[in-house]
Amino acid sequence: MFRFPEGPQPTSVEVPQLGERARLILEVPHWTAAVAIVDNDLRPVEGVSKLEPLVGGGEAASATVEVPAGAYNVEAKLGGHIQTMWVVAQAGYETRVPAAAWDGLELATSMPLASAIDGTPPDDPMVGEVRRLSRVTRPALLTDPGTSNDARLFLFGRLAGPSKRQGPPAWDIRLVDEKGDEAARLADHEPATDDSFWSCAFDLPKGYYVLRAREESESESFYRCQPLYLCGGWESHVFLECDRCPRLATMSFNMGRMGMGFRPDDDATVAAASLLAALADDDAGRSVSGASRMEELLRGELHNPWLGVLAAYAMSSSRPNAESDDLLAGLKRFLMREMGDHPDVRALTLSEPNAFVPLDYPPMIRAGLHRIKAYNAAASPGRDPVVTDSALAKVGDRLIADSAWTAWIEREPADGKRPAGDPESVPVKAPIDLLAEQLPSSAAVYPLGSASGAAASARPKSFAAQVAIIEAAESVLNCEGETPETVEVTLAGPLETMLNFDRETVAQIAGTGLEMVEEQFHRVADRLDQLEIPDPANAQAVQSVLAAIFDAKRCASIASIESGLDHDASAAWWFSTPVEDHVHRLRQEAHRMRLLRNDKSSLTPRESDEAGALAERLDGLAETLEGCAQLVIIADEEGHLLYGNKLLHERLQSRDDPEDVLERLHRALGGQSVQRLRVEAKELSPTSPEGKRGAMIDINRTVVHDEQGEVEGYIYLLRAADRKSLSPQESTRLDTLLPVITLHAATAQHGDADAANSLAALRDAADELDRMLSY
């Protein structure tokens, strides 16, 4: 809805000297803001000047640019907020966008800053109180008086809502050291005189700490952890917003020389607050390079190294140029000199010749973690700068990214002794479940139940050996022509089986990164002694590489076939989906048609009937197609059934009597002594669709033996004899036809247009499938 704009608007004055050009003057409420302009075609406008403080304008600043006449989209960013507006630049005119036109663009920080847009300090009792407390308070000594307490920490919390009533004593907020020992239980500290805030101060040994606070929301509670590094000879000031509990995501941080206290009216403090907010975004560099006052602060005598840290991160995130490179290099030199032990400084200077490595503590700013990660990725193998088992190495899985800070969540109660930064362990599943999710749908990876006699297997096999047999079943299933009578597998030992695969081949063909494959192989090798089933603890270590091996083998077959083919069409059937997946898809679409049939509000009665008929038809086609698929069963050398494929698994799951079916299968297959056998379906399962219609089942057996010829197991393929075996061309066509069926069905369900056309198209596709499946 177009509305004539209200409130303060841009104004123009004629400047004849501009000729055909136009000038834009962009005022913003604060000199730490960042501005950007794009033209009518979204092209960035170059040549925007740095923001200069407005004379008599308090904290406001302005930037200028000359442009061709036209419409421009102007963006201002401050404290994590972004606003844009269209401005018309007229030829021969100077157009000024007043700071007041940016409604609500303000620097939001938990620091009690003494500055405001109009230069008048805000009415904030915390400003004066923090200034007083940070200079007057005698910090508590928490350690042995003999220990060198060369760092000082102030914490200030602004209380709002429930926190005023319950107060800090009800909170669980602690400072723990690198060993996980409690350095300070902060909430026990005496509250301040005013009930609108809370403060405490401590003298501590310099070093790494974690601020750990229990946070609550409507639905859950958890511990949020925030690393802090206290530098010797410096004070660190932490500010938080608190409601029902302290909110670490709102943390502001600042540093000053010991004894200086917090200076709420200091430009460096304000700049640090603004840069922290900007660092949560992608182009924080503009906040430094686009503001003259910011640059002035950084080039002058820097009494606030934390501003240097933030500015260095901001500049590192933007495109390098000679001017900023010079400033950045100077900042890094300053930081290395003043606080070279700080993890953020170490992260910032990783690529410098005199970098402090190895790294042991996580940087306070998340961008530092990204720098370390990028450095690791680029470093040659074996030159990982991160100390094994260090606090830094343990940070990773539980990171939360709702601010610029490095922070992670712990969900279990604190025990006070837990290593700082140790993430919660991830529960593991059984290996087979994971494999089933990772492998081709046709793989026989589903363990069969107790009735099959699996538990009584005479010769327990290692996990790797069983994988080798599963892999053999895959090759038998996918072989062209007759099912082989025997297949040889290499079971010379888990190590050989698992680790003799060529890593590069696995990585290349399976599409998994070589580094990842190497790592997984390494982890498998480390745990090789424990690779017996069932040991779910190994699942995480082995599943990736096993899946990669499977995929590699499968794809290697594809690649070898593909290389001998002349054109795509004949090769495509090698990429075909297992029939059971098509069956599943057809049943899904039948289900969709039933849902549609019941949606009386959007269909005519005739369309509703048509949808119902199509549901029945697709179900019928699914059943026919399912008959074309093969059940795969793997048995051990004594005939105990070990694994089945997904189709068998799903069919058993849908039965009331799976144990009975397995028992019948066990008896029938265990007694089979020939390669091919035809049995009545009702012998195996009287209530199955095949059993009910009196069909016969063809069973093909392949003997699995090792290099010495010793029988290691059997692979059985079962298929209804009255069902067609699909040709490669038909499989290829199925791959095209099923997505078309899905598209028509989904269009009938969700499309804005009349469903009749989609239902008719779906009927045509079903007709084609019907013809294909007719024997």
Partner: protein, 365 residues
């Protein structure tokens, strides 16, 4: 929102800029359309299914794609579709053949998303579990990287209608490893991405639908996207093309406007222009939509001359002063931005993209 259809596309059909699929298959355009709404543990979404179908319909009717080149990945049961179904669809597009497949690949996604980094999107599969998202979601950047490096298609167009709330999950790449550019790949891949939400932000579905409108459930971004692709006013450039630039600008403006009307906070990610402009659709000149603005003269503008200028052609429409309360009707073309010039005031930009209903009454000062 009940006025989702108030921004009608131009009447009749338009023209795709060039044949999307020629007889030789050299110019084949393909699409992978992923709709995930049936989350097993996360909040289910109703918009992805209908939205994906709207996009598929555009692909077929206006984008010029063959139906068999559109791979729709969706699911009707909780926990579907999963990652392997996305991979399966790519395999069906013959990604394993290591050969250039065609001119353009569209990738559309509607579902839950996360923002693992400021410039990435994690695609959350339907079987994802709360608190166990590590190494579960495909990372958009890694997917784009693969397509750009391989040259599977000459152009890659990505539309993502999902949230990007910050959660530092480790994303996973597609299970294909880049070795070398695909056979017959044609140099640098031109890619264009439009994300429904900025870094750390949410995207929304329309709200407050009546039961009869349930089938019209849709995401705000997709609503704007489809209208834009169909050539809505404000989405067309001065050459009457819906291009990557004009579409991006339209969707950004429209989403912001619709979100504002619905009291939601959604701003699309600032799109980066592709290396070469992509033309999605061309509108015949006679079908360029026109919009009537009713300027209602206020006390300060009574008796003053009012001018409306087309910023593309610079054509000026000048009206004599009128008494307070009278109405001046101005027609603007949907393929240009205008400025409203009132004496003694800074001109105001009129973007057709935000004029979403007619008659559009604009009270003047």
């Amino acid at each position: 929102m009940t006025d989702a259809d108030r921004h009608p596309p131009p009447p009749g059909g338009g023209l795709p800029p060039q044949p999307a699929n020629d007889d030789t298959g050299q110019n084949e355009d393909c699409a992978l359309v992923v709709a995930i709404g049936n989350y097993r543990e996360l909040t289910p979404l109703r918009g992805p299914g209908p939205d994906a179908i709207r996009f598929c319909t555009w692909l077929r009717e206006k984008g010029g794609l063959k139906i068999e080149n559109i791979k729709l990945v969706d699911g009707n049961e909780p926990g579907r579709p999963v990652n392997s179904e996305i991979v399966d669809a790519l395999v069906k597009l013959r990604i394993r053949m290591n050969k250039r497949r065609g001119r353009r690949l569209y990738f559309y996604y509607a579902g839950h998303g996360l923002g693992p980094t400021f410039n990435d999107v994690a695609i959350v599969p339907a079987d994802a579990a709360q608190g166990m998202l590590v190494a579960t979601c495909y990372g958009l950047n890694q997917c784009i990287d693969y397509f750009v490096k391989t040259g599977f298609f000459d152009e890659l167009v990505v539309f993502m209608d999902c949230c990007r709330e910050r959660e530092e999950v480790t994303t996973i790449p597609l299970p294909f490893k880049f070795e070398r550019p695909f056979e017959n790949a044609r140099g640098q891949v031109n890619h264009f991405t439009l994300l429904a939400a900025g870094d750390g932000a949410k995207s929304f579905e329309v709200r407050d639908l009546t039961p009869a409108q349930e089938r019209k459930f849709r995401g705000i971004m997709t609503m704007a996207l489809i209208d834009g692709l169909n050539g809505a006013a404000g989405a067309i450039d001065s050459n009457n093309n819906v291009t990557s630039t004009s579409l991006a600008r339209y969707v950004a403006t429209r989403v912001e406007e619709e979100a504002r009307i619905n009291q939601l906070d959604q701003v699309i990610d600032k799109p980066k222009p592709p290396q070469q402009e992509i033309v999605f659709f061309t509108i015949p000149p006679a079908q360029v939509p026109r919009i009537e603005l009713r300027l209602i003269i206020g006390p300060q503008t009574a008796g003053q001359e009012i001018r409306v200028q087309n910023l593309s052609t610079l054509a000026m429409d000048t009206r004599e002063g009128q008494p307070e309360g009278s109405v001046i009707t101005v027609t603007i073309e949907g393929n240009a931005r205008y400025q409203l010039i009132l004496p003694g005031r800074q001109p105001v930009v009129i973007d057709p993209a935000i004029i979403a209903s007619e008659p559009n009454d604009v009270p003047l000062p």
